[in-house]
C-alpha cells in the first residue's frame, strides 16, 4: 500500500475535488446527508493520505518530491503545468489544512443544520480544501497563482453565502476588491520572476536567486532598484492582501458576515495564512533582499499591535476574534521579516488549531444563543455549556501565550527572534510585538469574561433554552483543543530550533537568528522556566489581570474610560478611519471616474460610434452583399469568370519579386 507516492499526492487533492463536484452538481440527487457524507469522506481521505505523506516525508525522512503531473500546454517555451513540490513544509501544511478542514466539515453538520443552502455549503468548503491544497503543493508560480485565486474565489462565495443579506454582499465584494489590489502586485511579481529568471518553476527560480540578486532594474528613469527587492515586495503585496496586513486588512473583519465555520477554516486557520506560507516558501528570494525583509517586518509588527488594539473596542464576538486573527497574522509576518521563517510557520500551525478552536467555540455559543453575536447580551455561559467553556478557555490561554500552551512556544520564539534580529527596524518591531502581548491578553480575556463569566445578560426566553450544543459541534472542539495544548511543546524543538524544514526554508547565515537562539534552547520545559524571567509572560499576566479588574470587579469602568477618551475611542471604533478613507477616495473616486468614462467614453464613443456604428455598417453590408447571391446561374458563372480573369491578370502581370 502507498508504494507509489505520486498517486497518493494526486488523491490528496482529487478526493476533496470529487466530493465538491458530487455535492455541488448532484446535491439535489443525493440529498443533505449524502452531501455531507461525500464531502466528509473526501476530506477525510485527504487527511489520512496527508498523514501518510507526513510520515513518508517527515518521519521516514524521504527526500523531497518535485515532479510534474500534467502539462497543459507549452506557450512560447513556457510550460504551463500542474506539479507537486512535496517537502517538509508542504507536508506540514497539508496535515494542518486537511485536519482543520475535516473538523470544520463535521462541525458544519451542526452549525448549518437548518440552512437551505446546506449542500452548496459543503460543496464550497470541499472546493476550498482542494484549492488550498493546490496552493500549498504547487511546484511552480502559476499553480500557486491558480490556488491563490481559487481560494480567493471560494472565500468570496462563502462570505456572501447568505446572499440575500445586504451586508454579506457588501462584505464579499469588499474582500474581492481588496484582494484584487493584492493580487495585482502578486501577478506583477510573478511576471517579474518570469522576466528575470526565465522560468516559473520553483527549483529553477531558487537556483538562480543568487545570480539575479546582483542585478538592478530601473523603476523609472534614474531610479535603480535591485531586481530581487522589487520582486519580493511585489509578491509581498499579494501576501498583504491574502493575509490581511495593513493597509489591505480591511476586508477580514467584514468577512465575518460569512457562516462561522468559514471564519474558522478560511478566515483564520488556512486561507489567510497563504501569504505567510508563500513568503516562507519564497525564502530563497527574500533572503537576498534586506529591504524587502524590513518592509515585511514593519508591516507585520504594525499590524500585530494596532489591529490587536481594535479588538478592545469590538462588541461582536466574531469581530473580536477577527481582529485577533489580524494581530496574530501580524506576528507571523513580523517573524518572516526577521528571517525566522520557521517560527512564523510554527505560529501559523499552532494558530490554525487554537484560532479554529476559538472560532468554533464562538460558533457554538452563537448557536446556543440562537444566532446572537453581541457580547453585551451574553455572560455566565460556563454553567450552561461546560465543554464549550473549557475548550474556549484552552483556546484563549493558547492565544495569549500562557506558558506551556502551544501559542506560548510559537509566539515567544517570534518575539525572541525579532529581539535578536539585526535589521535596523527591529527595535520598533520588538516594541510593537511586546506591547501586543499585553493587548492580546487584555482583549482575549475581556471576551472570555464577558461571554462565560458574570451575570447572564440575555433575555429570559433565550436563557431558558440555553444548553450545550450537539456532539458534531463539541467533538471538533475537543479534537482541536488537544493540539492547541500539546502541539507546541511537542514540535517547538524540531520545528523552530531544529532542522525540521531542512532545505525547504533557506536562511542566509548572517540572518540566522533562530540558529543563534538554538544554542540557549534546552527543551520545551527549559523554555517555560526561562519565560518567567522574560517580559512577555508578565505582560500577558498583566493583561489578564487588567481584564479581570475591568470586566469582573469594576464592570462600570470601561464605559467611563470610553467616555473620557472620547476622540480616541471614536477613532478606534472607526477602525482608524481606513474604511472611511477607502470609501471616500478609492470607491468614490473610482465611481466618479467610471461615471465620467461611461457617459463620454462608453455611451458616446464606444457604444455609439464603435459598437453600434460598426454593427450597423456590417449589417448594412450584409444586406447589400447578399443580393449578389441572386439565384441566377449565369450570374454565378459570371462571378467565376470575373474571378478567373482577375486572378490570371494578377498572376501573369504582377511581377513576383
Amino acid at each position: 500500500m502507498f508504494e507509489n507516492m505520486e498517486t497518493v499526492y494526486l488523491w490528496v487533492v482529487l478526493a476533496p475535488l470529487l466530493g465538491s463536484i458530487i455535492a455541488g452538481l448532484f446535491g439535489w440527487l443525493i440529498g443533505r446527508a449524502g452531501a455531507h457524507w461525500v464531502t466528509i469522506i473526501g476530506v477525510g481521505v485527504s487527511f489520512f493520505l496527508s498523514l501518510v505523506v507526513f510520515k513518508h516525508i517527515v518521519i521516514d525522512g524521504a527526500p523531497a518530491y518535485n515532479g510534474t503531473v500534467y502539462t497543459w500546454m507549452v506557450a512560447g517555451g513556457l510550460p504551463i503545468e500542474v506539479g507537486f513540490l512535496i517537502d517538509k513544509l508542504t507536508a506540514m501544511m497539508m496535515v494542518v489544512v486537511t485536519f482543520v478542514s475535516w473538523m470544520v466539515h463535521i462541525y458544519t453538520i451542526g452549525y448549518m443544520h437548518d440552512d437551505p443552502g446546506y449542500t452548496r455549503f459543503f460543496s464550497y468548503i470541499s472546493l476550498f480544501t482542494f484549492s488550498m491544497l493546490m496552493l500549498v503543493m504547487a511546484n511552480n508560480f502559476l499553480q500557486l497563482f491558480f490556488g491563490w485565486e481559487a481560494v480567493g474565489l471560494v472565500s468570496y462565495l462563502l462570505i456572501g453565502f447568505w446572499y440575500k443579506r445586504e451586508s454579506a454582499i457588501h462584505a464579499n465584494l469588499k474582500a474581492f476588491l481588496v484582494n484584487r489590489v493584492g493580487d495585482f502586485g502578486f501577478l506583477l511579481g510573478i511576471g517579474a520572476v518570469l522576466l528575470y529568471f526565465g522560468s516559473l518553476d520553483y527549483a529553477q527560480v531558487f537556483a538562480g536567486a543568487e545570480k539575479v540578486a546582483a542585478r538592478t532594474m530601473s523603476i523609472w528613469p534614474g531610479v535603480e532598484w535591485p531586481v530581487i527587492t522589487v520582486i519580493c515586495i511585489l509578491l509581498f503585496i499579494g501576501a498583504m492582501g491574502k493575509s490581511a496586513q495593513m493597509p489591505l486588512h480591511v476586508w477580514l473583519p467584514d468577512s465575518m458576515e460569512g457562516p462561522t465555520p468559514i471564519s474558522a477554516l478560511i478566515h483564520a486557520a488556512t486561507m489567510v495564512t497563504a501569504g505567510i506560507f508563500m513568503v516562507a516558501r519564497m525564502s530563497p528570494l527574500y533572503e537576498y533582499s534586506e529591504t524587502a525583509l524590513a518592509v515585511v517586518m514593519v508591516i507585520g509588527a504594525t499590524t500585530a499591535l494596532f489591529m490587536g488594539l481594535l479588538g478592545l473596542v469590538q462588541t461582536d464576538i466574531k469581530r473580536v476574534i477577527a481582529y485577533s486573527t489580524l494581530s496574530q497574522l501580524g506576528y507571523m509576518t513580523a517573524a518572516l521579516g526577521a528571517s525566522a521563517y520557521a517560527a512564523g510557520i510554527f505560529h501559523l500551525m499552532t494558530h490554525a488549531f487554537f484560532k479554529a478552536l476559538l472560532f468554533l467555540g464562538a460558533g457554538s455559543v452563537i448557536i446556543a444563543l440562537h444566532h446572537e453575536q453581541d457580547m453585551r447580551r451574553m455572560g455566565g455561559l460556563r454553567r450552561y455549556m461546560p465543554i464549550t467553556w473549557i475548550t474556549s478557555l484552552i483556546g484563549t490561554l493558547a492565544l495569549i501565550g500562557a506558558p506551556g500552551f502551544s501559542g506560548f512556544f510559537s509566539k515567544d520564539s517570534i518575539i525572541e527572534a525579532i529581539g535578536h534580529s539585526s535589521l535596523g527596524v527591529a527595535g520598533y518591531a520588538y516594541a510593537c510585538v511586546l506591547i501586543g502581548v499585553f493587548v492580546t491578553a487584555l482583549y482575549s480575556f475581556r471576551m472570555y469574561f464577558l461571554v462565560f463569566h458574570g451575570e447572564p445578560r440575555m433575555d429570559a426566553h433565550t436563557r431558558e433554552h440555553v444548553h450545550e450544543t450537539p456532539w458534531v459541534v463539541t467533538g471538533p472542539l475537543i479534537a482541536l483543543a488537544v493540539p492547541s495544548v500539546v502541539i507546541g511543546a511537542w514540535y517547538v524543538g524540531d520545528m523552530v530550533f531544529g532542522d525540521f524544514f531542512g532545505r525547504a526554508i533557506f536562511v542566509l547565515p548572517r540572518h540566522d537568528v533562530l540558529g543563534g537562539l538554538a544554542a540557549s534552547f534546552h527543551g520545551p520545559w527549559g523554555m517555560v522556566q526561562h519565560a518567567f524571567f522574560q517580559p512577555p509572560v508578565w505582560l500577558a499576566a498583566a493583561g489578564v489581570v487588567t481584564a479581570w479588574y475591568l470586566y469582573m470587579v469594576r464592570p462600570e469602568l470601561p464605559g467611563v474610560i470610553a467616555a473620557r477618551a472620547g476622540a480616541l475611542y471614536r477613532f478606534m471604533v472607526n477602525k482608524y478611519g481606513f474604511d472611511d478613507f477607502n470609501e471616500a477616495v478609492f470607491a468614490g473616486g473610482g465611481r466618479g471616474l467610471g461615471n465620467l468614462l461611461w457617459r463620454i467614453g462608453d455611451v458616446r464613443l464606444i457604444d455609439g460610434l464603435a459598437v453600434n456604428g460598426s454593427a450597423r455598417l456590417v449589417g448594412w453590408l450584409a444586406g447589400v452583399v447578399r443580393h449578389l447571391q441572386s439565384g441566377f446561374l449565369y450570374h454565378y458563372a459570371f462571378a467565376m469568370i470575373v474571378g478567373l480573369v482577375a486572378l490570371v491578370g494578377w498572376a501573369v502581370f504582377w511581377p513576383v519579386e
Binding site: 450584409a622 444586406g623 452583399v625 447578399r626 446561374l633 467565376m640 474571378g643 478567373l644 494578377w650 501573369v652
Partner: protein, 475 residues
C-alpha cells in the same frame, strides 16, 4: 509488350471500397424497403473495413501504378478522417431519409462512390488521377443533391451545381493541359522537378491559376463559392451534411497534392493568390452569414469563411503552416458534422428544422442538446477552450510567423464579426421561447453519437495535443 503487374497493396482500401460499393448496389436490389437495414449495415461495415485496411498499411510512402498513385502519411490521415466523417453522416441521416421517403440504397451507394473518389483524390500522384478522383466524387455529389426528385429546390440546386461544377472541372483540366505543355509530364513528382527548371513562368502561372480555381471551387472559396449557399440550402439536409464535411477534407488533400507536392517551387506565385482568396472568403463568408435566416444557408456561409481560415495556413508555404491547415480542416469537419447533425436531430417528418427560429428555446425542449449545440457554435466561433479556438489559433500563429501580421489581424476582425451569428444561435436557444414545445424524436444511436461528436469538440479542445501531434507528424 512488356506488362508488369503493379504493386496493388497500397490501393487495397480503394479496391475494397469499390468492391463493397458494387456489392451494396447488388444487395440493395434484392432487399425490400423494410430490409434496408442490410444496406446500411454493409455500408458502415465498408467504412470500418477500409479504416482497418488503411491503418494497417506500411508507414513509409509508396508510389505505385506507374507513378499515378501514392500512399503516404497525409493520404492515410485524410482517408481515416473521411471514413469516420462519412460513418457519422450515414448514421445521422438514417431517420431523416426514412421520414422523407428517400431511404434508398442510392444514397449509400453514391456515398460510397463519393468516398472512393475522395480516396483517389487524396492519393493522387498524377494530374490525371486528381481529375479522375475529382470527377468520381463530383458526379456522386450531383446525383446525391438531385436525389430528392420531387423537390423543386433540390433539382434546381443540383442543376446549378452540375453546370458550375462542369465549368470548374473544365478550367482545372485546362490548367493541367497547360502545365503538361510546359513540363511534358503528368506525374506530380516529376512535374515538381520540371517546373523548378522552367525559366519563363508565364504559361506555368497561367496554368497555375486555372488549377487553383478548380480547387477553390471544390473548397468553396470566394469568388468561386456561389454554388455553396444554394446547394447547401437546396439539398436534403443529410446530403448537405455529406457535402459540407468529407469533401472539404478531400479538397484539402487535392490542394496539397497540386500546389505543395506539384508546384511547391511556385509558392511565391500561388501564395499571394491564396491570400486574396482567403481574405475574400473570410470577408464575404462572415458578413453575409449575418443576413441569413436559414440555418443551412448560414452554415454554408460559415463554411466559406472557414475555408478562408484554412487557406491561411497553406499560403505560408511552410510545413508548420500545412499542419495548421490540416488541423483546421479536420476540426472543421468534426464541427460541421455536429452542426448539421443538430439540424437532422431536430428535423422530423414534414418538418425541416433548418430555419434559425426552429432553434428558439431549444434549452427548454432539451437542455442537453442545447448545450451540445452551444459547444459546436462556440467552437465554430473560436471561443476557448473549444476545439475551434485551437484551430484558429494555430493558423493565425502560422500567418504571423510568415510575417503576414496584417492578414492575421484581418482574420481576427472577421472572426469577431463571425462570432455574432454563431452567438445568435446560442441566444435563440437559451433566451427565446420555443414556438412549439415538441419533444425530440431522434433515435438513441443518433442521440448518443451526436453527443459524442460534440463532446469530442469539447474534450479535444481541452486536450488538443494528440490531434496536433498527429497533424505535425504528417508534414
Amino acid at each position: 509488350m512488356n506488362f508488369a503487374i503493379p504493386d496493388m497493396a497500397p490501393a487495397l482500401p480503394e479496391m475494397f471500397v469499390l468492391g463493397m460499393a458494387c456489392l451494396v448496389l447488388l444487395v440493395d436490389l434484392f432487399v425490400s424497403d423494410r430490409g434496408r437495414g442490410a444496406t446500411y449495415v454493409l455500408s458502415q461495415a465498408t467504412l470500418v473495413g477500409a479504416l482497418f485496411l488503411t491503418l494497417g498499411g506500411t508507414p513509409e510512402p509508396v508510389v505505385t501504378f506507374s507513378g499515378t498513385f501514392v500512399r503516404d502519411a497525409l493520404s492515410d490521415v485524410l482517408k481515416a478522417f473521411i471514413y469516420g466523417v462519412v460513418f457519422f453522416v450515414f448514421l445521422y441521416s438514417r431517420d431523416y431519409l426514412r421520414d422523407r421517403g428517400i431511404y434508398r440504397g442510392e444514397f449509400f451507394v453514391l456515398g460510397l462512390f463519393g468516398v472512393l473518389g475522395m480516396m483517389i483524390l487524396v492519393s493522387a500522384h498524377s494530374l490525371l488521377t486528381v481529375y479522375l478522383g475529382l470527377e468520381l466524387l463530383s458526379l456522386s455529389l450531383y446525383a446525391m443533391v438531385a436525389m430528392q426528385r420531387d423537390s423543386v429546390l433540390a433539382s434546381e440546386s443540383a442543376m446549378k451545381y452540375f453546370v458550375l461544377g462542369a465549368l470548374a472541372s473544365g478550367m482545372l483540366l485546362y490548367g493541367m493541359s497547360m502545365l503538361y505543355g510546359v513540363t511534358g509530364t503528368l506525374d506530380i513528382a516529376e512535374l515538381s522537378r520540371a517546373i523548378a527548371g522552367v525559366e519563363d513562368r508565364t504559361v506555368a502561372s497561367f496554368g497555375l491559376v486555372f488549377l487553383i480555381i478548380g480547387v477553390a471551387f471544390k473548397l468553396g472559396a470566394v469568388p468561386f463559392h456561389m454554388w455553396v449557399p444554394d446547394v447547401y440550402h437546396g439539398a436534403a439536409t443529410s446530403v448537405t451534411l455529406y457535402l459540407g464535411t468529407a469533401p472539404k477534407i478531400a479538397a484539402f488533400g487535392m490542394l496539397m497534392r497540386l500546389l505543395v507536392d506539384g508546384l511547391g517551387s511556385m509558392q511565391a506565385d500561388w501564395g499571394p493568390i491564396l491570400v486574396i482568396l482567403a481574405v475574400l472568403s473570410m470577408a464575404i463568408g462572415n458578413v453575409v452569414a449575418i443576413a441569413q435566416t436559414n440555418l443551412k444557408r448560414m452554415l454554408a456561409y460559415s463554411t466559406i469563411s472557414h475555408v478562408g481560415f484554412l487557406l491561411l495556413g497553406v499560403l505560408t508555404g511552410t510545413p508548420d503552416g500545412y499542419s495548421a491547415s490540416l488541423f483546421y480542416v479536420l476540426v472543421y469537419a468534426v464541427m460541421g458534422l455536429g452542426a448539421f447533425g443538430m439540424i437532422l436531430l431536430l428535423a422530423r417528418a414534414g418538418f425541416e428544422a433548418d430555419r434559425l427560429e426552429d432553434f428558439k428555446g431549444l434549452n427548454e425542449r432539451s437542455p442537453w442538446f442545447a448545450f451540445m449545440m452551444l459547444v459546436v457554435m462556440f467552437s465554430m466561433a473560436g471561443v476557448p477552450p473549444f476545439l475551434g479556438f485551437w484551430a484558429k489559433l494555430y493558423v493565425l500563429l502560422e500567418a504571423v510567423r510568415a510575417d503576414l501580421v496584417w492578414l492575421a489581424v484581418a482574420a481576427v476582425v472577421f472572426s469577431v464579426i463571425g462570432a455574432f451569428y454563431y452567438l445568435r444561435v446560442v441566444k435563440l436557444m437559451y433566451f427565446d421561447q420555443p414556438a412549439e414545445p415538441v419533444p425530440l424524436q431522434a433515435g438513441a444511436d443518433m442521440r448518443v453519437m451526436l453527443s459524442a461528436n460534440a463532446l469530442v469538440v469539447l474534450a479535444l479542445g481541452i486536450w488538443p495535443g494528440s490531434l496536433f501531434a498527429l497533424c505535425e507528424a504528417v508534414f
